[in-house]
């Protein structure tokens, strides 16, 4: 049996691991299971390679970004909470202004567990979805970014599992094991949320996923970072620092593809595929696909759970303190568009019940911002075509709109019309086949696959030619 000090040295942390018997006992059991999962379901191949990775070793200013060559299984997955600030009070809901909880209030145990498990489940899921992408990476730079994202998703799993171990007793330990037994896309044991069961088998999907789906993560984590349950708030707050890199990978990755596609379109008189590139229509379909699956992750437009989570002080809004004045919102309403008798109409919903939509709108605004950036890229290259986000009603599997069919502009259409057109609206089998056919591993330092532009700079001040992965 390892002693606590060994465990604590192996696992960078600021949660007093060495002195916490309960946590040590749980981790001793879970750690081998985690490593087994990582070896089975983590990035395929490359486990023995040195990779230029960033490791968080403390929460101090310089501590969370230590760059060095590491073999992935040796990555030091740590447990960090943002530092404790005394006198923090609950910032929203029915307990507004009361001291934050350092332990779980019994009455909210069930809801908190559900929130944490749902968030936690997404972390290993994305690693599973992306496990084969190293073999077709467009550059060492991108390959390294993929692995960075993967190990950090792994660490985010640790962060959530820490909360389960520390605060939920036996139930928490059971849930932590379940997190390692579900599998993305598995018929019998699928991941909880649908977007995390979708195949992600090429790099256009990878960048779309890290841009759109990880961005959902950002908004979920940010709203949990507001929580009255302080350990969860601080855990999520620290996770956000890492999540930012994932979003950077997605946003710049798509931007680079868009730039290259525009260039190739210009060079080939509108037939970028003839030069092994990706046409902008296909990129639009990928945006439509991943944006809408990610919208589902916010939950139903009208939700008593969302209302309860807010009222109970468990889950706030994005930047609750800075962006909102009324933090209780007992009486407000929000206007939602609903389908009544085959028409889209508008109706007032109690604001708290519309919390999912409030967060979804913050997210959509952020996505719009990225779209504007990509369209500036198109403008720079000299193309007239513009990319856009589809309507929030289009292609939904959750919530008010999932029972109906809409076109990307949000107009109600018949099932037949949808069936007839969805191939031209959403990433489809031929697209995936084409993308797989042009994606081949590029391993010469500094070199890029032909379908993607080079990034503007390297990682941690290193040049693009740097050997980010030692093969």
């Amino acid at each position: 049996m390892k002693n606590n000090v060994d465990l604590s040295a192996k696992i960078p942390n600021n949660v007093g691991l060495a002195d916490d018997r309960r946590l040590c006992r749980a981790l001793e059991h879970w750690l081998p299971l985690y490593m087994e999962w990582w070896n089975d379901m983590g990035p395929a191949g490359f486990q023995a390679n040195d990779i230029y990775l960033r490791t968080a070793v403390s929460v101090e200013a310089g501590g969370w970004a230590n760059f060095e060559y590491v073999k992935m299984p040796d990555y030091r997955w740590g447990i960090f909470l943002s530092p404790l600030e005394n006198d923090r009070t609950i910032g929203f809901g029915d307990h507004f202004g009361k001291p934050k909880w350092q332990d779980i209030p019994g009455e909210y145990r069930g809801n908190l567990r559900r929130i944490i498990v749902t968030q936690a489940d997404t972390e290993p899921a994305s690693v599973e979805q992306q496990r084969l992408l190293g073999a077709i990476a467009p550059s060492l730079y991108d390959m390294r970014n993929l692995f960075q994202v993967n190990v950090e998703e792994g660490r985010h799993l640790w962060a959530m599992v820490y909360l389960l171990f520390r605060y939920f007793g036996r139930d928490g330990r059971d849930e932590a094991e379940e997190l390692l037994s579900r599998r993305s896309g598995d018929e019998d044991k699928p991941r909880i949320l649908n977007a995390f069961n979708q195949p992600c088998d090429h790099w256009l999907s990878f960048f779309s996923f890290t841009h759109f789906t990880d961005r959902d993560g950002k908004y979920q984590l940010a709203s949990l970072a507001e929580s009255g349950f302080d350990p969860m708030a601080r855990t999520c707050d620290f996770m956000l620092t890492e999540e930012a890199h994932h979003l950077f990978v997605g946003e710049t990755g798509l931007d680079r593809i868009i730039r290259r596609s525009a260039e190739l379109t210009m060079e080939t008189d509108g037939d970028p595929r003839s030069a092994g590139g990706i046409d902008l229509d296909l990129i639009q379909r990928s945006i439509n696909y991943w944006f809408t699956y990610s919208l589902d992750l916010f939950g139903s437009e009208i939700s008593s759970n969302a209302s309860n989570f807010f009222a109970e002080g468990l889950k706030g809004r994005f930047k609750e303190e800075q962006r909102y004045e009324d933090h209780v919102m007992k009486d407000g309403v929000k206007v939602l568009s609903l389908v009544k008798e085959n028409k889209v109409t508008h109706e007032e919903i109690p604001y708290r019940n519309a919390m999912n939509e409030v967060l979804r709108e913050e997210y959509m605004n952020d996505c719009e911002r990225a779209l504007r950036k990509w369209n500036r890229t198109l403008e720079q290259v000299g193309m007239d075509v513009r990319l856009k986000l589809p309507s929030r009603r289009f292609h939904r599997h959750q919530g008010l709109y999932s029972d109906y069919d809409f076109d990307p502009e949000g107009n109600l259409i018949t099932r037949e019309e949808y069936e007839k057109n969805h191939h031209s609206w959403l990433l489809n089998a031929e697209d995936n086949e084409y993308l797989s056919s042009i994606m081949h591993q590029v391993v010469e330092p500094g070199k890029m696959a032909n379908w993607i532009a080079a990034p503007s700079r390297g990682i941690n001040g290193q040049p693009l030619e740097f050997e980010y992965v030692r093969l």
């Binding site: 019998d188 919102m329 604001y351």
Partner: protein
């Protein structure tokens, strides 16, 4: 003082349904196996103001279920295994619709729960009485009333996908009870340990996977990829264990169609006259000559729904449901029969002789079911045995259901017991109505078993079967005074009083469900912690959180 609610439900609810027009269920027949898919149409609730999302149900959904259960009894004797499944992609069933409960009056909630309880009990009865095996296929979350439906099946199969769970979230989420048999079936039927049941009933998200099996909340868990294959194989296996009843088809199940003439609801075998002025009703069963009685079971089956005892049982049931839901102001029903004692005894005898034939057996079971339903109705019943009455055998048990029995002491006014009174029509509590009356007179009760002599008023009084026997000078006036007195008493008190006095003697799981669980539920339904302005049921789905009065009452 709060406004007294003296209005009847404006919209008349009919209890008839037909598979061709089901909105919420879909039946598939494959030889000896019937699969019933619950696939609730959200846009067609029974009343306005709520959507039936996530396979949640209201009375309209349950009326179809009741129809289906009844058809399994009579239309589909060839079915040996029933699979209750969900036609919804994401959930099995979210339970009773909360929006509907929030909008309903107390009386509606009580009647809704009573009807759903009776349907679940009949599902169990059909299984017990026909050998039908019932399996619930839980795919997706199965909450509250959904799990209560599952509990009414012989076996529960749960898909093991890490998401599907069974739960009774009424206490943690709504501040009410799993009152449609949930609590009772958990500990009495499935024999879940009571401390585990306590944990289970307070965890809103419920229990899934291995623990659900360990705690006996479900019987099997199966991975998604193998679920239907294994379940179907098991259903076939179960069906093969059921002895063949030698019948390929049942009878055609036709609707009951009464006509309305002023305040009289007229059926082919009985009539109900409503007297709103004194809040009473006269229910009179008309017994025809037994000369038209089919000679054997095959001939009875050939008559199908037209067979008089079946028709009468069905029409009586319809009348009772109509009384409950559409005539709630009626506080006292006077039960009479018209015909010859010889005839009702001859009808009974024909059925007794045909026992062992599936159709005759099911008619007797249905008669029993209907009498139990009368017994559970929140209305006073007085049986009046007068000149021209024919309270014999099966109809005598209807008199014994009544809270009081008044018998005219006159020549030719007689009653008679037969085998129906000695165990063929047990009460919910499992004993006969004769035994229930004579709990303190065991010797007398024993002496009546097998004693099928005709009894005049004096003999009936001596036998303890009537409340009072009176000659014609006293009879009319005494009855009138008793009726008027009854009409002056608190209806709530009478409901409670009758429910307690009617079921003297032992308890069964079913009697506990109706007598205890329902009573607690109905109490909680009017408590501020559930239905007050700050109550949990009132505020469910709304932005405010409930605020409880913490005193234990």
């Amino acid at each position: 003082m709060a406004e007294v609610e003296n209005k009847e439900t404006p919209k008349t609810i009919t209890f008839s349904a037909h598979p061709s027009s089901y909105r919420h269920w879909r039946l598939e027949f494959d030889g000896a196996i019937c699969t019933a898919y619950m696939d609730v149409d959200p846009d067609h609730p029974l009343k306005e103001g709520y959507d039936l999302k996530m396979n949640s149900y209201d009375l309209g959904v349950d009326i179809e279920l009741a129809d289906m259960v009844r058809r399994l009894r009579f239309e589909h004797p060839e079915v040996k295994t029933l699979i209750v499944a969900s036609g919804h992609a994401q959930v099995f069933c979210a339970g009773a619709n909360i929006g509907m409960l929030g909008l309903s009056t107390h009386a509606w909630k009580v009647n809704f729960c009573k009807f759903t309880n009776e349907t679940r009990c009949e599902l169990e009865d059909v299984a017990e009485q026909t050998g039908l095996k019932t399996i619930c296929a839980v795919t997706g979350p199965c909450a509250g009333g959904g799990y209560e439906l599952a509990l009414a099946c012989d076996e529960i199969w749960l898909i093991d996908d890490g998401n599907s769970a069974v739960s009774l979230p009424e206490t943690p989420l709504l501040g009410v009870l799993p009152g449609t048999g949930g609590l009772t079936r958990l500990v009495d039927k499935r024999k879940v340990r009571r401390d585990r049941a306590d944990v289970f009933c307070t965890v809103a998200e419920g229990v899934k996977g291995k623990r659900a099996v360990q705690w006996r909340l479900v019987d099997h868990i199966v991975a998604r990829s193998k679920f239907w294959e294994e379940l179907n194989a098991h259903a076939q296996q179960r069906a093969s264990e059921v002895p063949d009843r030698g019948v390929e088809r049942g009878i055609e199940w036709l609707p009951v169609e009464p006509t309305l003439e002023g305040n009289t609801v007229r059926y082919s075998t009985l009539r109900v006259e409503y007297h709103p002025e004194d809040r009473t009703a006269n229910l009179t069963i008309e017994v025809p000559s037994a000369a038209t009685c089919p000679k054997d079971a095959a001939a009875m089956q050939a008559e199908g729904c037209e067979f008089w005892p079946l028709r009468m049982a069905r029409e009586l049931e319809h009348a009772i449901l109509d009384l409950r839901i559409n005539h709630s102001l009626t506080g006292l029903t006077l039960v009479r029969t018209e015909g010859k004692l010889d005839d009702i005894l001859a009808w009974d005898q024909a059925l007794l002789d045909a026992r062992g034939h599936w159709f005759a057996d099911q008619v007797i079971h249905l008669m029993n079911h209907v009498l139990q339903r009368v017994e559970r109705t929140s209305c006073s019943f007085f049986a009046l045995i007068e000149e021209g009455s024919c309270f014999g055998g099966s109809l005598l048990d209807l008199a014994l259901v009544a809270d009081r029995v008044y018998m005219l002491d006159a020549d030719g006014v007689e009653i008679a017991r037969n085998e129906f009174n000695d165990g063929l029509l047990p009460m919910t509590t499992g004993i006969t109505r004769t035994e229930c009356r004579l709990l303190g007179e065991e010797e007398l009760a024993k002496s009546l078993v097998g004693n099928y002599e005709r009894l005049d008023a004096i003999a009936a009084d001596d036998a303890g079967l009537v409340t009072e026997s009176m000659d014609d000078i006293d009879f009319e006036d005494t009855v009138r005074i008793q009726v008027e007195e009854r009409g002056s008493l608190s209806p709530d008190s009478l409901t409670g009083m009758e429910a307690n006095l009617r079921f003297a003697g032992p308890e069964t799981m079913k009697s506990k469900i109706f007598g205890r669980l329902s009573a607690w539920q109905n109490w909680i339904f009017i408590r501020p912690n559930a239905t007050g302005p700050q109550g949990a049921l009132t505020l469910y789905g709304k932005p405010e959180r409930p605020q409880f009065e913490w005193s234990r009452v």
